[in-house]
C-alpha cells in the first residue's frame, strides 16, 4: 500500500492527477434525478471499442480479394483459434450497435434532450447514426457471400433512381457497372479506415459538446420541466447537489454494460444465426441470383418504402425528407417543454413514426 501511495504521489506531484480526478470524476456532478437511460452512451462506447478490437483481430486473417475473401472468412470461422467467436462478436456487435443507438436516440427524443442549446449534440449524434449504418452496409459485403453480394447489388442499385446522376453514382459506388472486385476494394477501405476514423472523430466531437453544454436534466419528477435557457449567452448546465459521476454513475454504467454483455453473449453463444441466412455461408456467385434477398433488419423499412412506391425516386425522396426532418428536429421543435406527456403533438408524431417504422420493417420482412 505504501508503494502504491508513493507511486501515485510521484505522478500527482508532477501532473496533478488527483485534481483531474476530483474535477472530472468525483467532483463531476450529474442531475440528482438521472436515470439508467443515460448510460446508453457508455454502452455504445463499449460496443464501438469491441467492434474496433474484434475488427482488428479479423483483419489479421481476412483477405480483401474477391477470389479469396470468402475462403478467408471460412478459415477464420473454422481454423483460426477462437476465430468463430471473434467473427460472431463482430457480426452480432454491429447489429447491437444499431439497436442500442436507436434506444439512445429514442431516450434523447422522449426526454427532449435534443432541444436548445443541444442542437449540435443532436446533429453530431444523428451523423454518427448514419455513419454506423454506413459501416454496417460496407461491412456486409466483405465476407463475399451470396447474401453480401446480392444485398449490396440491391442496395447500390436503389441509388440509380436519382435523376441525371443516379447511374454515375451507382458506378462510382461499385467501381464499375456491376458489383465486383473493385466494389470490395472500395467497401473494404471505407469499412476499415474511412468510416471508423470518422466515427471516432465524431464521438470525440459528441463528447466535447456534451462536456461544454453539461448533462441535460431528465424532465421526470420535477415541478418545472420546461427548458430554462434563454439563448442569450453561453451556459454550462451544472448540477449542484447532484450525484458524482464516480463512483455513483460509473457503477450504473458498469451495471448497464454488464447487462448488455449478458444479452450480447446470449445471442453470440446461443443464436448468432439470428442475423445470418443460408446465403451467408455460400460463396458469392454473380450468375446465380438467390430467390429472396432481404437487407438487414434495420434497412427493412427503407427496403419496403422503395417497394411501396411505383417510382423508386419517390421512395428515396420520401426517405430523404423523413431523415432531413429528423436531423433538423431541434430547429423544427422549438417548444420549451421537455416532459413527453406535456408534448401531445410530439408524442403522437413520435409514436406514429415508430409504429410506421416497425410496421414497414415487418412488412418488408414478410413481403
Amino acid at each position: 500500500m505504501g508503494l502504491f501511495k508513493r507511486l501515485t504521489d510521484w505522478i500527482d506531484f508532477r501532473i496533478g492527477v488527483r485534481r483531474i480526478v476530483a474535477k472530472e470524476l468525483t467532483g463531476y456532478l450529474l442531475p440528482a434525478n438521472i436515470n439508467a437511460w443515460y448510460s446508453m452512451g457508455s454502452i455504445l462506447l463499449f460496443i464501438f471499442a469491441m467492434q474496433v478490437m474484434t475488427g482488428c483481430l479479423l483483419l489479421i486473417y481476412y483477405v480483401p480479394d474477391a477470389d479469396k475473401a470468402f475462403k478467408s472468412v471460412t478459415v477464420i470461422m473454422n481454423d483460426v483459434p477462437f476465430g468463430w467467436l471473434i467473427r460472431m462478436c463482430h457480426a452480432v456487435g454491429s447489429n447491437m450497435m444499431v439497436l442500442v443507438l436507436l434506444f439512445h436516440m429514442l431516450s434523447v427524443l422522449f426526454m427532449g434532450s435534443y432541444k436548445r442549446p443541444r442542437e449540435l449534440n443532436w446533429l453530431s449524434g444523428f451523423i454518427l447514426f448514419n455513419l454506423v449504418m454506413a459501416t454496417s452496409l460496407t461491412g456486409y459485403l466483405l465476407p463475399w457471400s451470396q447474401l453480401s453480394f446480392w444485398a449490396t447489388t440491391v442496395a447500390t442499385n436503389s441509388v440509380s433512381s436519382i435523376p441525371v446522376i443516379g447511374q454515375y453514382l451507382v458506378e462510382f459506388l461499385r467501381g464499375g457497372k456491376l458489383v465486383g472486385p473493385p466494389t470490395l476494394g472500395r467497401f473494404y477501405a471505407l469499412h476499415v479506415a474511412v468510416i471508423p476514423i470518422a466515427i471516432a472523430s465524431l464521438v470525440g466531437a459528441h463528447l466535447f459538446l456534451l462536456k461544454r453544454t453539461g448533462v441535460s436534466t431528465p424532465p421526470f419528477g420535477l415541478k418545472e420541466s420546461a427548458n430554462q435557457w434563454q439563448g442569450d449567452d453561453y451556459r454550462y448546465e451544472d448540477h449542484p447537489g447532484g450525484i458524482p459521476f464516480f463512483p455513483n454513475y460509473a457503477l450504473q454504467d458498469a451495471v448497464s454494460v454488464a447487462l448488455y454483455l449478458t444479452f450480447f453473449l446470449t445471442v453470440v453463444f446461443f443464436d448468432p444465426y439470428l442475423f445470418f441466412t443460408r446465403e451467408s455461408f455460400i460463396a458469392a456467385d454473380p450468375f446465380q441470383t438467390p430467390a429472396h434477398i432481404k437487407p438487414e433488419w434495420y434497412f427493412l423499412a427503407n427496403y419496403q418504402t422503395l417497394k411501396i412506391f411505383s417510382n423508386e425516386f419517390i421512395g428515396l425522396s420520401v426517405q430523404g425528407m423523413a431523415m432531413t426532418c429528423l436531423a433538423l428536429l431541434p430547429f423544427i421543435d422549438r417548444g420549451r417543454e421537455r416532459h413527453p406527456l406535456k408534448r401531445p403533438l410530439f408524442m403522437t408524431a413520435a409514436i406514429g413514426g415508430i409504429l410506421l417504422w416497425v410496421g414497414l420493417s415487418i412488412w418488408g420482412h414478410y413481403s
Binding site: T74, P247, L261
Partner: protein
C-alpha cells in the same frame, strides 16, 4: 483537328470488332441454350398430334428429363429449330432405337450407369428377353432413379421379388443414412462450418452407392453396402465431432453469460451502497 495515332485507331477497331463478335457469340449461345425446351419444333408439332404421335410429348412433360431441360433432340437427334428438316438423318436424327440398342442409346449420356448395367445379370440378358433401361425407368416419362423403381410389380414381370426385396432392404438402410448425413451437413453449413470435405466425401459415397442400383447380386450388394456403411460412419463421426464442439461452445457460453450477469448484480449492489442515483 487533332490527328489520332494509327496504332490506337487500329486497336480501337480491333476492340470494337472483338466486342461485336463477343455479343454475337453470346446471343447465339443464349439462343442455343434456350432452344432446349422452348421453341422446339418437335414439341410444337408432336404436341398437336393425336394418338401415339402426340403421346410421347405428354409423357415427356412429366419426366425428369423435362424437369432438367433435356428435350427430344437430346436423345433422338435432329434439328429442333427447323421444322422442314427436323427429322432428317443429315441433321443427326436417330429415330426410335431397336430394343437391343436402348442401353447404348441412353448410355451416351449415362456412361457410368451403362457400364454398371452391362456388368449386371440384366445387362447380360440383353437381347435374350432381359430388361432394358425403359423396362424400369419408363420411356419418355423417364422417372428419377430411386429405390422405388425396385418394386414387386416391375420385378415380377420377369422373376420373383424375393431376392430384390433383400437388396432393396439393404439399400434402403444405406440411403436413409446418406439422407440423414446430407441433412446434417446442410445444417452445419448454415452455421458457417466448413463442410467442404464432408460434402466431397458424401458425393463419392453416394456415387458408389448409385453404382449398386443395377446390381442384382445380393452378396455383392451386402458387401458393398457394408463398405459404404463404414465410409458413412466416418462422415457421421465427423458430424458428431462438430456437434460436440457446438455443445462445448454453448457450455462455455452459459458460463460467460452467467459471469456477465453476476458482474451486473455485483455492480448493482455496489452502486446501492453509495445510496443515491
Amino acid at each position: 483537328m487533332r490527328q489520332r495515332n494509327p496504332a490506337i485507331k487500329s486497336t480501337s477497331r480491333l476492340m470494337i470488332t472483338c466486342i461485336l463478335v463477343a455479343i454475337l457469340v453470346i446471343a447465339y449461345l443464349g439462343q442455343s441454350t434456350t432452344a432446349g425446351a422452348a421453341d422446339n419444333v418437335c414439341i410444337d408439332c408432336h404436341g398437336k398430334l393425336p394418338g401415339k404421335y402426340g403421346e410421347p410429348v405428354k409423357l415427356w412433360q412429366g419426366s425428369i428429363h423435362a424437369a432438367n431441360g433435356v428435350a427430344c433432340n437430346a436423345c433422338h437427334g435432329g434439328d429442333p429449330k427447323d421444322a422442314a428438316n427436323a427429322m432428317s438423318p443429315d441433321r443427326g436424327f436417330l429415330g426410335v432405337p431397336k430394343e437391343k440398342d436402348i442401353p447404348a442409346f441412353c448410355g451416351r449420356c449415362h456412361v457410368g450407369v451403362l457400364k454398371d448395367y452391362l456388368a449386371s445379370l440384366h445387362g447380360k440378358a440383353l437381347g435374350k428377353g432381359g430388361p432394358t433401361c425403359v423396362t424400369c425407368h419408363g420411356n419418355h416419362k423417364v422417372v428419377k432413379a430411386s429405390l422405388e423403381l425396385i418394386n414387386e410389380k416391375s420385378c415380377s414381370l420377369c422373376h420373383s421379388f424375393k431376392q430384390e426385396e433383400i437388396i432393396k432392404g439393404v439399400m434402403a438402410k444405406t440411403e436413409s443414412r446418406i439422407l440423414a448425413i446430407d441433412a446434417g451437413i446442410a445444417a452445419f453449413k448454415q452455421k458457417g462450418i466448413d463442410t467442404d470435405r464432408l460434402e466431397k466425401g458424401l458425393f463419392a459415397v453416394r456415387n458408389s452407392f448409385h453404382s449398386l442400383f443395377h446390381t442384382v447380386d445380393v452378396a455383392r450388394v451386402e458387401m458393398e453396402s457394408a463398405r459404404i456403411g463404414a465410409e458413412l460412419q466416418k462422415l457421421d463421426d465427423l458430424l458428431k465431432g462438430f456437434d460436440a464442439v457446438q455443445r462445448q461452445r454453448r457450455l462455455i457460453g452459459a458460463f460467460a453469460v452467467a459471469g456477465a450477469l453476476l458482474f451486473a448484480l455485483l455492480f448493482w449492489l455496489l452502486r446501492k451502497t453509495y445510496g443515491r442515483l
